[in-house]
Symmetry: C2
Subunit: 327 residues, 2 copies
């Protein structure tokens, strides 16, 4: 390239990047030569020299789950606009895969990582490598560092309050885990709403699913309905569980909301397509993703040693037709 333009490599660099002195006609000559031979500066050489790349690692659990897909879509949109690109890795909820991805990101000298963490080891490991981390949606172990989180407790409280206000007294909670801050928060909100309303809570109405699959949630719903026929409302703690619950309810031809109310957490497309539409809590997932990317970018821009940014995304109750007063 330097040969093609008849100048030194230094001058090429200055001309193309606009740093330092360059005579206008030389700059033009270099530009013309670059266009002529289709020259594109090598990003690897640049990263090597600068000790940082324009890449950001994004580590999520399951791209097929619309929640994560929307999150990634929001992240990518903001990163792309800022001239970064996204290395996307699915960890399938596995801590081992997550650690492997961390290795990869470290090797690539990414300028940051946005992660829906599975284990705290990965987050710790990233920090040890001096990589900026933004935890998205939930936090694993560590209480510090940048994070963009939903207010799970408040969201679950909104749903539960809504059901209690309709007159429900036997409200079951279907949930997959409570180790993560998401599950723990939603459970806490469910409890808090009962407490606030002075309604006693039957612990047996908290049903745990055995895996992250919708099919497991369907099974759990079946067991719950068999064991407690007096339940009048079901609160599914995420979109996958809601799917399983909905399928089981459909299979049994239970009239919703006449015989049973159903509410969910996270708004995904099928919830507004089915009849009755599902009452749920939306977290505006695409904007959620955008916020994550913005927090990371401002960390990259600004002085590294700022206070950690913790953003709480406001959950919002979307009332549809799947919830009504019990008979």
């Amino acid at each position: 390239m330097a040969r093609e333009a008849g100048v030194s490599p230094s001058t090429v660099s200055r001309a193309l990047n606009g740093t330092g002195y360059t005579a206008p006609q030389v700059r033009e000559r270099v530009r013309a030569a670059a266009a002529r031979i289709g020259y594109i500066p090598d990003a690897n050489a640049r990263s090597l020299r600068n000790r940082s790349s324009r890449s950001v690692g994004v580590l999520i659990s399951d791209l097929r789950n619309p929640f994560y897909a929307d999150l990634a879509a929001g992240i990518e949109q903001v990163l792309r606009a800022a001239g970064y690109h996204m290395i996307l890795v699915n960890d399938d909820g596995s801590a081992e895969e997550e650690l492997l991805a961390v290795q990869t990101f470290a090797a690539m000298r990414v300028s940051g990582v946005i992660i829906t963490p599975v284990s705290s080891r990965s987050v710790k490991s990233l920090r040890e490598h001096g990589i900026n981390v933004v935890q998205a949606d939930r936090r694993a172990g560590t209480r510090h560092g940048d994070a963009v989180l939903g207010d799970n407790e408040q969201g679950a409280e909104l749903v539960t309050e809504h059901l209690l206000a309709l007159g429900h007294r036997r409200i079951a909670l279907l949930i997959d885990e409570t180790k993560w801050t998401t599950g723990a928060g939603r459970l806490a909100g469910y409890r808090a709403a009962h407490e606030a309303a002075g309604v006693p809570l039957d612990e047996k109405l908290i049903a745990f699913t055995t895996s992250f699959e919708a099919e497991a949630a369907r099974g759990a719903t079946a067991e719950l309905l068999d064991a407690h026929p007096d339940v009048t409302a079901l609160f599914a703690a995420n979109n996958v569980i809601a799917q399983g619950a909905f399928q089981e309810i459909q299979r049994r031809r239970i009239a919703v909301p006449r015989k049973l109310s159903l509410a969910a957490y996270d708004d995904v497309p099928w919830m507004s397509m089915v009849r009755p539409g599902i009452t749920t809590v939306t977290q505006h997932t695409v904007s959620f993703g955008k916020r994550c990317a913005e927090v990371l970018l401002s960390r990259l821009d600004g002085a590294a040693e700022q206070e950690p940014t913790i953003i709480h995304v406001q959950p919002e109750l979307v009332v549809r037709a799947s919830t009504a007063a019990p008979r």
Copy 2:
């Protein structure tokens, strides 16, 4: 790192990569030192030296569309297992964004790109930069090079045959574009099935939507139903159009399939959640994505100058409850 292990950089490289001679105890010493200081080889330096990276660019139109999300999920799964990682870029169906992404990929010296192409320029540009390209789902302009495609003509024929066999004679086609091979193929299949059945086709029943949004499809559906009340079946040429059509049908409280049959292309979750379930053509999208990655990987492995691989994924009709004989 070389200092830490007390050996030369050359030896570190040989020990860690297992290339050339290395004494077992030295190899062990190097490994131990690497583990002790958390050493991870710099991928940029490696890529610079090797003139190739372990990255693959993936360029899709819209991550929020479950078709693309599933495709990307399949691709990522196979790439990750093979030690590659995925740079994911959304082009929002814009040729400009697509070209920008091509620049990025070229700069990164990715070992290949998997693309659902918008314009043929991008594909040509990638080839000119000596980058391996696999076209996924559709082809833009160029007829050669590796590709993994659905058999759109056959898929559309399956749907149309199914409707014709049920006795429908006024079958409308809702479609967004016919410039891409997907749209063109589906239109051709719709025509071919009519031809084969000897049923005359009313060209006015082919309705074009004005954008890629579901809302546009809803509008197009409304106009179509107003203009041609004698239509007994609707064939939506993709999942987004199907969503718009379904919403309009729901809004009008048209009884499906009693008064109107509805069929779609591509199977996405809501289609099996709603009642009646939507009859559609599945392309097994996740496997579709896996195939794309496999084709690329074998191109990277094998001699570069092999014949182009063209894979046609077999479409499959999924009959659900949204289609029935007309009254």
